[in-house]
């Protein structure tokens, strides 16, 4: 299974090694509001889940994405 870092790295084209729990729109190039939608689409596809809108809005960094996915039974 891929990790959240794998997906973030693939969507924004950044090095996986440069990512950590706190990586967020402030630190990752391309992670703007449109980029966020692309990220959500990729997360849904890669982890085969459908993420609620309020959860999408809570996803402020890599750590929070991992926590939220856990609530869907996904280990990212």
């Amino acid at each position: 299974m891929p990790t959240v870092e794998d997906v973030v790295s693939s969507v924004f084209g950044v090095n996986r090694e440069s990512l950590n729990e706190g990586s967020s729109p402030e630190s990752v190039e391309g992670w703007d509001s449109m980029g966020h939608m692309n990220l959500v689409a990729a997360l849904e596809q890669r982890f085969n889940v459908s993420i609620d809108i309020d959860d999408v809005m809570q996803m402020a960094n890599v750590g929070e994405i991992r926590q939220i996915l856990a609530a869907y039974g996904v280990r990212g």
């Binding site: 924004f12 391309g30 990729a42």
Partner: protein, 631 residues
């Protein structure tokens, strides 16, 4: 065609590897290869994220050059994510795109305000995407008959008004998305039985909008529903995207929209391909004719064989819009001709091919010869061959040729051909419809040339007739077409679109001339145009162009002579011919010199050649009879 999707992890691994390759190329300053790696990256992983990544990276790489194109998007919903997909499609076509997206929901203000960002940007293509739910929110709530008819008129007027206002302020090509209703009708299966059904309503509005738009020059309706149907429902109806971000299309739909958009962009930029070079065995029919004989090949009304008939029909359809066909096959001619001439189920016959190479030579050599024979550039050819070795050879040796990755499965051939975006015309002219037969006449001309003792005797025996006139409204489509695709005999390569030419026709300070040529083998049609601007006591020849079909006959001489005579009649003291060298117009470089013009200046890439019509004369070629109407 879509390639088969490999196992996801494999594709992920490939993508990651390609991303690394890209980084290396970028750091090594290998700009062209880096751009190409980005193209391949998006092809491999066509997601919004990857397309946006590629789009961002372009800004960091140096530009490659290539023809610029300016694309505007005006939409009632968020269509910004289309830009990265359009960007990669333009790059693949060798274009250097610039984009403008109207601020959210401000498309109307943008169009109405002459000082808006839209006009400051100066688009060459403007896509107008209005969603039916935005124009008529009541459509989701079982509208009454009155609401439907009122909205129908309103929606139609909104679109027509917007297009009208935009046209009044800009020469841009306008492409309006047709209306599409996503989701099911609230009437269920009764929808089509009711006068107030929604599918009928959408059909009616789209038909009316199509009528309005077809009355406007340089304006098109994009068949959005056909485009979206290629993607499948789940992608196009991604409601979550709409709820959260006012987006209406998912990644798959955006990619198809970008591809389809190129059907408008390519002809606008003169990138329409002119000729399809086809192989025979395994391409036009199944099997090897040299081994199984004419009766043994797969070609007929049942499978296997019907898929090749289907494919041949699609190729034949292309000839109806002026695309030429040529054969390039490794075979013994004696094995092939009986098939082309007598096989009961052949759709394509000898007369459909403008050039034929059936021999055992290297195919790159043959393809180059075909281009020379037809007098068209290699970058206007498409190469179709079922043999991957031949395809690779052409890709390596003649990269300008579009070598299509023909699917292994012949039942996919037709769909593959129809998915190519390289054969579109913004207008169909008489010249397009007659092109195939014109090349037939060319072969007769070449036979005559070989039989004639000298060039002079040949030119005399052709009985060339030239007709020169001031352009009228019915000439405009062909003039615009030539302005945008003629590269060799084109003095300035200034490209103008329909609205500009229409304005020139109405202007007292401009003259647009057209040249039609015929000879004993038939009509060449409208093959030359010239734009002359009166600037005080000077006439400036802004542009002269000539179709490559009639180069070498000296018809340009009678054309230029006519312009100089017209200038003399108006007592013009200075006739100025401009020449702007391009990568392809070398054959025109001495056009003004050899007609007695003197180089007066050469600044900022523009040469000015002058001629005194009151004193200087142009010698007429004696083998051309000239008819003129109007000076």
């Amino acid at each position: 065609m879509e390639e088969r999707v490999p196992h996801r992890s494999k594709r992920e691994a490939d993508t990651e590897a390609l991303r690394l390759v890209y980084r290396e190329l970028k750091e090594a300053g290998r700009t062209a290869e880096a751009h190409d790696a980005l193209n391949r990256l998006v092809e491999l992983q066509p997601t919004g994220g990857t397309a946006a990544f590629a789009h961002r990276e372009r800004g960091k790489l140096g530009e490659l050059g290539g023809r610029p194109v300016r694309i505007a998007i005006l939409s009632s919903y968020v269509l910004d994510p289309l830009v990265p997909f359009l960007d990669v499609e333009c790059r693949r076509a060798g274009l250097m795109p610039a984009f403008y997206v109207a601020p959210f929901n401000q498309y109307t203000q943008d169009v109405l305000n002459p000082a808006s960002g839209l006009y400051a940007f100066g688009p060459e293509v403007a896509f107008i995407a209005l969603d039916v739910e935005d124009l008529f929110p009541g459509i989701r709530l079982v509208p009454t008959g009155n609401e439907l008819s009122g909205s129908r008129a309103k929606v139609r007027a909104t679109i027509a008004g917007l297009v009208h206002e935009l046209r009044a302020r800009s020469n841009t090509l306008i492409v309006v998305y047709e209306l599409a209703f996503s989701g099911w009708s609230p009437h269920g299966i009764l929808d089509n039985r009711r006068g107030d059904g929604l599918s009928r309503w959408i059909e009616d509005v789209n038909r009316e909008v199509a009528e309005d738009l077809s009355a406007q020059a340089h304006t098109f309706l994009m068949p959005l529903r056909q485009v979206l149907a290629r993607v499948g429902g789940a992608q196009e109806q991604n409601r979550k995207l709409y709820y959260m971000a006012r987006m209406r299309h998912g990644d798959g739909a955006l990619r198809e929209l970008a591809r389809y958009s190129m059907r408008y962009v390519k002809p606008l930029k003169g990138l329409t391909r002119k000729c399809v070079v086809v192989d025979l065995d395994g391409t036009l029919w199944g099997g090897v004719v040299g081994e199984v004989g004419p009766e043994g090949i797969q070609l007929g009304p049942t499978a296997p064989g019907i898929e090749y008939v289907d494919f041949q029909e699609a190729l034949l359809n292309l000839t109806k819009r002026g695309i030429l066909l040529a054969i390039c096959s490794k075979n013994n001619p004696n094995d092939v001709w009986p098939v082309l001439r007598e096989h009961k189920h052949m759709v394509l016959r000898e007369e459909h091919f403008a050039a034929v190479r059936i021999n055992w030579h290297n195919k790159a050599e043959n393809v180059r010869e075909i281009a020379e024979e037809l007098n068209i550039a290699l970058d206007s050819l498409v190469f179709l061959d079922d043999n991957p070795v031949e395809r690779e050879l052409i890709r390596q040796m003649l990269p300008q040729v579009l070598t299509v990755e023909l699917p292994r499965d012949a039942s996919q051939y037709r769909a593959m051909l129809e998915s190519l975006t390289d054969f579109e015309l913004l207008a169909l002219t008489k010249e397009d419809e007659q092109r195939a037969s014109q090349y037939q006449a060319n072969r007769q001309r070449q036979a005559l040339e070989r039989a004639s003792g000298s060039l002079d005797a040949y030119l005399r025996s052709l009985e060339i007739r030239a007709e020169i006139a001031r352009a009228a409204a019915h000439h405009v489509p062909r003039v615009v077409q030539m302005l945008n695709k003629t590269n060799q005999f084109n003095t300035t390569t200034r490209r103008y679109q329909t609205p500009e030419i229409e304005r020139l026709l109405a202007s007292p300070d401009h003259r647009v001339y057209v040249l039609e040529v015929a000879d004993r083998f038939g009509e060449h049609g409208l093959v030359g145009s010239a734009i002359v601007c009166r600037e005080g006591g000077t006439w400036r020849i802004d542009n002269v162009l000539l179709s490559c079909r009639v180069m070498g006959l000296s018809v340009e001489t009678v054309f230029l002579k006519h312009i100089s005579e017209a200038a003399r009649l108006h007592d013009v003291a200075r006739l100025v011919g401009e020449f702007i060298p391009s990568a392809k117009n070398e054959p025109t470089a001495d056009f003004y010199r050899r007609h007695g013009f003197q180089l007066a200046s050469d600044a900022d890439g523009v040469q000015s050649w002058i001629f005194d019509p009151r004193r200087d004369r142009i010698e007429d070629p004696t083998w051309i009879s000239v008819k003129t109407s109007g000076e």
